[in-house]
Symmetry: D2
Subunit: 345 residues, 4 copies
């Protein structure tokens, strides 16, 4: 049994990690931390986990995990993560970091969109943990930068097109819509029930912080610098991201041919489901699961391809992908503990 700790387990990503880890046969949860809820039973803060997680939240120093945990998930805000991860690595823990701190390998780009980076030396070592696209280095990594939810949905949607040079990458527009759990569990007026319910809006225009992370993946896939327009919107649902991605085809292609390209790319993957031609994804059909569903459309009138991808932002967009990375790091089957069917309705 691998010993696992979750640091910052009192947000929505944290509680989802606890749910998924409770189903994992090869791990033992040894420590969950939360400054805010230290000393309280996990099941008092998250009654869904009553009878499932018997621990109390701790407020421990990272150094105290030495010899106690083999692998640590850090589910804390960016900037907080970079403050504790060097110590975790130093005491021999491997780390899957769910913050943004180690996702951008170019420190100048990171500092342009976030703030000063205080653990730059780890940026070279950190591995971007999107297994379907960049699987090779994950298993040996000490530090995984677990991808953002939007970047996961977009990179999986566009990878086959960019790898084969089928689109003009200067024309890429990504219109994404996320469920409200992506906004976190902090008490803010903006995410109160009555502010979100029956509403819909764009936010963070025109510079959402996931833009450079998306562009980094697309650039790596395309082999040249990609710059996109990215507009996130807030959906009145708990979970799910749908990304609608537009691009001009370099040469007109049939839907059938494009569909084949996607099947070639993803048919061996556990967690990417390329839908039949003419079918489009719905976030309701991946809820609670680690799947990414992808649908394709060709707009012959304008020469554009439209790729739609749906994930559960808390699973494939966060906790599920983190466990997928953990499985690779621990040389377990990549899908171990993750073959949960979506919960519909």
């Amino acid at each position: 049994m691998h010993r696992i700790a979750v640091i910052g387990a009192s947000g929505y990503t944290g509680v989802e990690l606890l749910r998924l880890l409770s189903l994992h046969p090869d791990t033992e949860l040894v420590c969950v931390t939360s400054r805010q809820y230290a000393g309280q039973l996990v099941s008092d803060v998250f009654p869904s986990l009553r009878g499932i997680v018997d621990l109390s939240f701790e407020d421990v120093d990272p150094l105290a995990l030495a010899g106690r945990a083999d692998l640590v998930f850090t589910a804390v805000p960016h900037q907080t993560a970079m403050g504790m991860i060097p110590a975790l690595l130093a005491v021999g823990c491997r780390v899957v970091d769910l913050s943004a701190d180690f996702r951008i390998s170019d420190v100048e780009v990171y500092e342009e969109w976030y703030q000063e980076h205080t653990a730059r030396e780890l940026l070279v070592e950190a591995v971007y943990g999107l297994p379907e696209l960049f699987r090779e280095k994950i298993s040996e990594a000490r530090l995984i930068a677990n991808p953002g939810c939007y970047p996961t949905s977009v990179a999986l949607a566009l990878a086959p097109l960019l790898e084969k040079g089928l689109i003009d990458h200067k024309t890429i527009i990504v219109d994404s819509k996320s469920g409200t759990s992506g906004a976190g569990r902090a008490a803010k007026v903006d995410t109160l029930y009555c502010e979100v319910n029956e509403g819909f809006k764009a936010y963070s225009l025109p510079r959402h912080r996931h833009t450079p992370e998306i562009e980094q993946s697309l650039t790596r896939l395309a082999g040249e610098t990609v710059r996109i327009s990215f507009t996130p919107h807030l959906l009145p649902v708990n979970r799910g991201i749908l990304s609608t991605c537009y691009a001009s085809l370099t040469d007109m292609m049939s839907l059938a041919a494009l569909h084949e390209v996607y099947l070639d790319k993803y048919s061996a993957e556990n967690f990417v489901r390329v839908l039949p031609k003419g079918k489009f994804p719905n976030i309701a059909q991946v809820r609670g699961s680690n799947y990414c569903d992808i649908g394709l459309s060709v707009d012959e009138r304008t020469g554009r391809v439209i790729v739609l991808s749906a994930i559960d932002n808390l699973v494939k967009g966060a906790a599920g992908q983190a466990i997928q990375n953990m499985n690779l790091m621990l040389t377990l089957p990549e899908n171990q503990g993750l073959l949960l069917p979506p919960v519909f309705p």
Copy 2:
């Protein structure tokens, strides 16, 4: 008092017409029809209107409205509308048609996207009733083609840019999201509560029937043929459309300059609210009202402008705009009965 009839009043557009007409000081509702509910009290089918609308649904022949109604709203499906409107006009009723039948002036385009047109002779006469953009001919019209909900949101969003030639219209992409009342009140599995709730998906790709209507307006505004990519999505809310419109600027412009263009265009309008720079619309902020809220963003990294517009699909996208047209036809103040503040939360 002008005598008003509503044909096909048992859908969501119909009940919204009844709500709004009940607040209108210069009209009297004389007849509401529904084949399905004929003989039943309106207030038994729509309990919200108990004590407000005292009529029963009738199932009358259009000819029977001769001398009984001065103006008729037809809120029936396309194809049904074209079957009854010639008779209504023949007996002297003026008509505001909320179906798609008279929106597309080019009969070939209509027949490509819908079906055969059986009242072609009226296509020349019908006036497209989007007052903010094409107000001039509405007051004299016998027959108004009330715009579709998506086309209203898109034409208002893009008109200032196209009229001034500020964007390359070949780059226009419209990503729209609509509340579920837009899908109608017919009993279908696809719009059951559990199918829609906590879900989100695109639909009708890549050829939604509102595409040619949108293109017709944009072409008229641009003065040359415009062809767009349009993707509608289904939102788990009752009411509201948010359209996110992307286009490349022909010459880079500042947000401030663009904002001025919009203020110039719309500041005298009753129902278009150009939001302050840096603010973006939310469908929750127009719910139940005839407003269209517009927000602007310039993506300097890619040279694109992003225009967001929000309307209530049942009001500015249907019944409210129909009454706005009625007011113009009856030479009443254009905003008569329509100055309802949005209902928030």
Copy 3:
């Protein structure tokens, strides 16, 4: 024009007062206050009111309203209200207080359920403003205690039975369900979107503070002390209260006879709609309106009557009823500005 101020206008009750006052023909809004948002445009805090309310929030001392406002709505928390109302009255303003501070006339009961009362001398003068049941003294009052949302729904539901002694009041059980706007607009984890959405729970068991207010009304109607069980629940909707009230009939009665009792009581009322026999209220059918819909059922197997009432907690349960009281105080028609049809869907 009567000059109106709203103190504490940045909550959901406050914004609803502003919406409804904007539709009122005989009043002018002269001042809206908010400590938190002082100096900001109302329309920046509540974009729904852009173009409708042009004021900025102020942070004024009650004394400063002398000569400026004729009538003041206090929409602040209990305890805060009692701190400012004596001053408002002293400078000649009439007051409709939407807090709980003057609803309970027995100061000992108030202090048992709330905290110390610091304006006891006004408890005798304050008039409980539930017009349909206790209309007589409202018009002369200087200070109206506007009823709570739950108490309004329950008192209207049970009044005809208690006045006629048709039920054994020792058997009354009230199971109420409220939309989330009733929990206010303060930033709290408990009312975040993801905590409320797709959830349902009871709260404040077994001692919700509305219990003594409900019992005070029922006692007054029954002519003897009434004590009930009251359980409130939180509904994942923005607006609406449904109260399901159970009691044993003292003598078995037919549904038809009971229905007559309700029609006798309420048929002359503007805002109470007794539904036809066999129909039951739905909060969706009163949304955004000042109506209270009431339905009746007789359970012959157990000898119980079940009365269901639905209101919009922000309208008949707060701001709408406050304006109804204002109309009576200003000797305007009681329904002035309030005849808004519900917004469905």
Copy 4:
């Protein structure tokens, strides 16, 4: 591997059975039937199951399951079920019936609330499958009547009180609220998204068909005839039932003492979680799981106990309990395949 068939797998209970069976290690799904969708891939009708269930819907005669399936779940409407179950038993299949047809052992009661019973001879043999209360006969049964969703939530809530005679059963009132999946997947106007969303109402007053089933269980537990008032309401959520149960205590008891009674009864159960004193259940905390959460309150002012129970109507209220029964019938661990943590948020 036990071979399993699901008859009537195209409703919400059916798709939930397929989800849960896909997680069960000891069964093989050999046949799923649906008249409506015969010939279509399960994954085309329920895209959530793409890659998980590879079967197509069949339209088979029950007799054709001879030798093909060991155990059959019938998830068809009442009356349809009784038409096919005798044949299924005749060919040697064991049956878990999710309809109401074999839940009421007194045929006269059944026929009063439903319609004529055409398989009366099986009523004696059928075992009511609520394991926590009536576990003993389940393992040997050929035919299990899987309990209704409301009856499960109520019987578990009240069993400890009735078994010990702690309440006056003539005072029992049950106010229940169910998510919309309980209304089924048939296309009806009443369950369209816009009819349910932002609404809340009671229905089937005063004679919902689950009443006699509830009373049968309570009578069995109490040892004398119990008659209750039961009011179901429709919640705007996909999943979940919360039942609020009221009764007068025969002798006043402390909350602590009552809490002990519940712990005694349920602490050995896998799927009943008695919450700590002062905590109350929320349907969000059992979503997607087989748990029933129970909370207690004592209203000292009126001498009543209030018991609240929450289940997922599709899991503990239907498919999960059916699999729990299956496990007992197949002498597998009762919790096999069912230890899924709730999905929150």
